[in-house]
Amino acid sequence: MGNGGSRRGDSSSSSDSESKSSRVSRLRQKLHDYRQSHFHRRRRSSGLSSHLNSLSSADDFAGIALLTLIRAEMKFKDKWLACVSLGEQTFRTEISDNTDKPVWNSEKKLLLERNGPHVARISIFETNRVSKNNFIGYCEIDLLEFLDLDSDSDAHVFDLLDPSSNDMVVGNISLSCAIEDPFETEKNFARRILSVVDYDEDGTLSFSEFSDLVNGFGNQVLATKKEELFKAADTNGDGVVSMDELAALLAIQQEKEPLINSCPVCGEILQVADKLNTMIHLTLCFDEGTGNQVMTGGFLTDKQASYGWIFKLSEWAHYSSYNVGLKSGSSASHILVFDRRKKRLVEELIDGKIVLSMRALYQSNIGLRLMDKGAKEILQSISERQGKKMNSVESAEDIPKFLEFFKDQINMGEVKYPLQHFKTFNEFFIRELKPGARPIACMEHDDVAISAADSRLMAFKSAEDSLRLWIKGRKFSVHGLLGKDICPNAFVNGSIVIFRLAPQDYHRFHLPVSGVIEKFVDIPGSLYTVNPIAVNSKYCNVFTENKRTVSIISTTHFGKVAFIAIGATMVGSMTFLKKEGDFVKKGDEFGYFSFGG
């Protein structure tokens, strides 16, 4: 489980394992019971045909996990905060006192879905600076495995690792995790919504309170219909609706004619057919800001959650699903990317000064006109000079600084040669990896294409989609990308996959498909940045104006595949390790980018 590994919780007494079934198996049993009761209830209420819906939604549901960050033991005194990231959500604790044994006792309910993210990353920050916090240690915990641990105690201790060296332990953290019984979730949900409109706090709903509740859920039912519903809910006829009566009404009514159309807390439109997940959504939403030392939410990444005073401005930041990636305009100071392996958002920071200069150059017509008046030559000259510098023996001195800067993003353990092997920075930049460091998906199946680089990837079914969603340069076209020496007809409305390499990435690119290399075509050009700020500029056409090499790979399963390596500012040198006529296997090394013009 995770990297903590050293489970030092009180799990020793496991003699009567028969009677102590794991929490996950208990959960499974609860879900089974839940589905059974749901099935019978539905048969009674709305006939057999509708139960399939219920089973499918229950199958998708794993449960609500209550994660509690209890305390940590660090190696020095400071004011500490901890963040929990799961999928696209990050939550943070309060800041502790100045101590080497911070205590938070902060809890958060997290939704665990069967195919959703379940590896939580806990990050610990010291907070003694005004606006910047230092990332000190982390651990990653598979919550499903955690829940599977048989133990008398819910609390377990995990090692916190140094982000710059995975072998070094910088402290430990004690946390607990428990799954909430689905029946409890349903009951708590009814109790919680009842309390929202129970103005006289008598534990029941009068008709006017009930009416407010129905309105609050975004339901525009007629007054007569509300009366009808109220009477249906008030099964004992005492003129008020109790918690149990409300729970029963919601369970039955939500299947027939849903009462709950939108969440009164966040306003999200809820899936009418998915009653169970609706209940979970509302439970989690209502839970925000209440309970015992609940963690603060609304963040996307642990870096964002750890900001000092800046966090106050973004505490309730909400990102709609369509602007979650590149922030444009004045907010373009970071790029969010989704880590496919860990199933969570991570933040790629860009230095503020670079953002300003890139915006000035690439996102304005004036900037691009300036670019035409000599800046292109400057970019070329900078890149050539940078190439010479990075090939010098002195440049090797920059390697440790580079590693320190990207300490949590470069894993030296998977690099083929030790650090002292690299005599120049460029040698380090084009470092090779140990065999097997990058497993190839479905190696024996050439009809499965693979990722060509360690990168940030964008994929589109068609060129039209890529223009609508990402590439904003007005002159972009597949024809322009491939150049005049390649017949573009077969590719014109083909699928496009863009692999963007960041400085810290492994800079060798590999073959995404198996086949024969038909030809290489070098296309001279500029060395604009390939940062999304430029790609997203309507004034800039980096992909069709930059220096690039186009290779065509002829394959059995995909027809022809065009592979275009595009140079960028400073990293403008491309070297290929295959030649025309070579038979190539997917996953083979194809070439690398290095510093130079």
């Binding site: 979650v324 990636g325 692999f499 399963h557 595949v561 960028a568």
Partner: protein, 48 residues
């Protein structure tokens, strides 16, 4: 630096998670060797 791959029309079924993130203008962090998609021809055979 950037690599772009262009596939012929209807030759590849790109993995849905990658398409969905891209539709949100959200880049996906990937490593060499991760699955990108499957040949449409193969996909059609599997569907049959």
């Amino acid at each position: 630096s950037t690599v772009i791959c262009v596939f012929e029309e209807d030759s590849i079924q790109i993995d849905e998670d990658l398409l969905q993130n891209s539709e949100r203008s959200l880049e996906t962090l990937v490593s060499v060797g991760m699955q990108l998609g499957i040949a449409r021809k193969k996909r059609a055979e599997m569907d049959l």
